[in-house]
C-alpha cells in the first residue's frame, strides 16, 4: 500500500458518523414482541443469485407463455363472458367459495404497528382539487415527454350504500392537453378510510377493474373488451383486523388524498396493507394478495413547489412483493400544517417519477 493510499484510508476512517437513534433498540424489541420478522440473507459467501435469476426468468418466460395460453383457453370455456360486472359485483353473485384463491406462500408481516382507524385525525380531511405535475426520468438524465403530464385528484364527500364516504376521482392529461376524467373513481369509508368500492379504467376504456370490499373480504373483477370480451373475477380474504387501515391503490396515488388523516410526527412509523391484483384468470394465477406498506417519517424539509413553499414531513413508504424479493419505494413530502402531499418520488425499476403539487382549489 502506498503512502497516499494509507493517508486516504486514515482519512476515510476519520469521516464522521452521526449518532444513531437512542430508541432504536426499543423499536427493535417492540417490533419483535409484536410479531414483526425479517428474513435475512445468509452471512456466508454470496450465492450467485443474479445468474440464478436470469436462468429462472428464461424458464418462466418459456414455461409461462405455454401455461398462459393453456389457462386462458380453459377459462374461455367457462368465463362469464360479456355480462356487465357491476350488478353482479354488487350483488356478490360472481364469487363462490370455490373461487377463493390459495393462501399466498410466506405471508409478509408489517414492519411497524398497524395503523388503526381509531388513531386517524379525520378532521384534517377536506374537499378539494389537487393538481400535480409529473415527470418521469430514466437514469436521472432522460425525461420522456410522453410521461410529462398532469394529474388532478378530486376529494369530495359522498355516500356509499347509504353510509358517508369520501369519493376520490382522477383526471389526467399529458403536457399541453386539457385534463379529462380517466373514469377512475374510488369510495372510501368516511370513518375508517378503508376502501369500499373502486373503478379503474385503462386502455381507452377497454380494461376495467372493479373492486369492492366488505369488512373481511375483497371482490375484484377484470373486464377486457376486444373482439372477444374476457371477464375474470376473484375474492381475497383480508389478512388483517377489521379496524386496520388498508388501500387497494397499488401505486399509492389516491391514498395521497388520505395522508392528512395519518398522525405524522417526528420519528413516527406505521404500517398499512396494500391489496393488489387478485382476480383469477385460471387456477394459480393470483399474482398479488395483500402486502404490508411500511410508512416512516424520515425527516423534515422545506419544499418549494409551484403551489407554494411548505414545511413538510419527509415520509418514506416501502412495500415488498411476495417472497420479499422486490421492494417498491416512494418518498413523499407531506405538508405539516395541511397534510397535503406536495411532492412525491416513486422509484420504478429503472426510472424515477417525480410529482409536484401545482395547485389546490377548495370545494364549497
Amino acid at each position: 500500500m502506498t503512502d497516499h493510499q494509507s493517508e486516504l484510508s486514515a482519512a476515510l476512517r476519520q469521516l464522521p458518523v452521526p449518532e444513531f437513534d437512542p430508541d432504536l433498540l426499543a423499536r427493535i424489541l417492540r417490533n419483535r414482541a409484536m410479531g414483526v420478522r425479517v428474513s435475512l440473507p445468509s452471512g456466508g459467501p454470496a450465492f450467485p443469485w443474479r445468474w440464478l435469476a436470469v436462468a429462472a426468468t428464461v424458464t418462466v418466460l418459456i414455461g409461462g407463455s405455454w401455461w398462459v395460453t393453456m389457462s386462458f383457453s380453459e377459462i374461455r370455456a367457462s368465463r362469464v363472458g360479456a355480462r356487465d360486472p357491476f350488478g353482479e359485483l354488487l350483488s356478490g353473485r360472481l364469487w363462490s367459495e370455490e373461487s377463493l384463491p390459495a393462501s399466498p406462500p410466506g405471508r409478509l408481516l408489517p414492519r411497524y404497528p398497524l395503523i388503526r382507524s381509531g388513531s386517524l385525525d379525520l378532521t384534517r380531511l377536506s374537499e378539494g382539487l389537487w393538481t400535480y405535475h409529473s415527470m418521469r426520468s430514466t437514469e436521472g438524465i432522460l425525461s420522456e415527454p410522453s410521461f410529462d403530464g398532469r394529474t388532478r385528484l378530486r376529494l369530495t364527500r359522498g355516500s356509499y350504500s347509504g353510509e358517508p364516504a369520501w369519493v376520490i376521482t382522477t383526471e389526467g392529461a399529458s403536457a399541453g392537453q386539457p385534463l379529462r376524467g380517466s373514469g377512475d373513481t374510488a369510495y372510501v369509508d368516511a370513518v375508517t378510510l378503508r376502501p369500499l368500492y373502486s373503478l379503474t379504467v385503462r386502455n381507452q376504456g377497454r380494461t376495467r377493474i372493479v373492486e369492492s370490499f366488505s369488512v373481511s373480504r375483497g371482490f375484484q373483477s377484470l373486464t377486457i373488451k376486444g373482439s372477444k370480451t374476457s371477464f375474470f373475477s376473484g375474492v381475497l380474504e383480508l389478512p388483517f383486523p377489521p379496524d386496520a387501515i388498508f388501500t387497494n391503490d397499488w401505486l399509492v396515488e389516491r391514498f395521497r388524498m388520505l395522508m392528512a388523516a395519518i398522525p405524522l410526527a417526528k420519528d413516527w412509523s406505521g404500517s398499512i396493507y396494500q391489496t393488489g391484483f387478485f382476480a383469477r384468470a385460471g387456477p394459480g394465477t393470483v399474482t398479488q394478495h395483500a402486502v404490508p406498506l411500511n410508512i416512516r417519517v424520515a425527516g423534515r424539509d422545506r419544499v418549494s413547489v409551484p403551489a407554494g413553499r411548505f414545511d413538510c414531513w419527509r415520509v418514506d413508504l416501502e412495500s415488498h412483493s411476495a417472497g420479499d424479493v422486490i421492494s417498491t419505494r416512494w418518498t413523499m413530502w407531506v405538508s405539516r400544517d395541511k397534510g397535503w402531499v406536495v411532492k412525491s418520488e416513486f422509484q420504478g425499476s429503472d426510472y424515477v417519477r417525480d410529482e409536484v403539487l401545482v395547485s389546490y382549489e377548495p370545494l364549497k
Binding site: 493510499q5 486516504l8 484510508s9 482519512a11 476515510l12 476512517r13 476519520q14 469521516l15 464522521p16 458518523v17 452521526p18 449518532e19 444513531f20 437513534d21 432504536l24 433498540l25 426499543a26 423499536r27 427493535i28 424489541l29 417492540r30 417490533n31 419483535r32 414482541a33 414483526v36 420478522r37 425479517v38 428474513s39 435475512l40 440473507p41 445468509s42 452471512g43 456466508g44 459467501p45 454470496a46 450465492f47 450467485p48 443469485w49 443474479r50 436521472g140 416512516r296 424520515a298 425527516g299 423534515r300 424539509d301 422545506r302 419544499v303 418549494s304 419527509r314 418514506d316 416501502e318 422486490i326 421492494s327 419505494r329 418518498t331 413530502w333 418520488e345 422509484q347 424515477v352
Partner: protein, 179 residues
Amino acid sequence: MAIPVPSPAEGVAELAEQTRAGSPAALGALYRRFGPGLYRLAYRLSGSKEDAEDIVHDVFVGLPEALQRYEERGRLDAWLKRLTARIALMKLRAGRRRATLRLEDHDTATEPQRQPETGELQAAVDALPLSLRSVLVLKEIEGYSHSEIAEMLGISAVASRVRLMRAISRLRRTLGENR
C-alpha cells in the same frame, strides 16, 4: 419500554445461543455490543442515517431466526458485519440512494458537523457509484481482504481490486478538481 439488561459476564456464544432461543435480553446485549459498529458500517455504505438505522433494525429484528443458520465456525462479529453489508447492498440496489433526494433547507440537525476537508472527502465518497463505494468502504475502512469482499459481493477478487483502484482514482480526481 423497559429494556432488559443481561449480566455483563455473559459471553458472545452464550448470548447468541440465548438470542437464538428467543431471549430479548440477549438480543439487547448483542445489540449493545455490536450495534454501534454495524451502524457505522451501514452508514458508510448507505451515506444516510435513516437507511443505516433501518438496516441495523432489520439485522436485529431478524437475528434470532438468522442465528439458526449461524454455525459458530467464525467470529460472530465478522458474521454480523457480512450480514449487515449484504442487507445494506440489497437495500441500496433496490432503491435509489436517499442521498440524491437531498432538498434545499435539508434538516441538518442530526448530521455530523464536518470540517471543510472531511466535507469534501465525504462528498467525493457519496458521489461514487454503489459498486465502487462498497468496495472502498469494505477494504479501506473495514479492512476486509479482496477475497472476503469478493465473497460478500458475489464478484471475483480481481474485480474487487479493479473497483478499488477505480474508486481511489475517482476520489483523487474529484478532490483534485476541488483544489
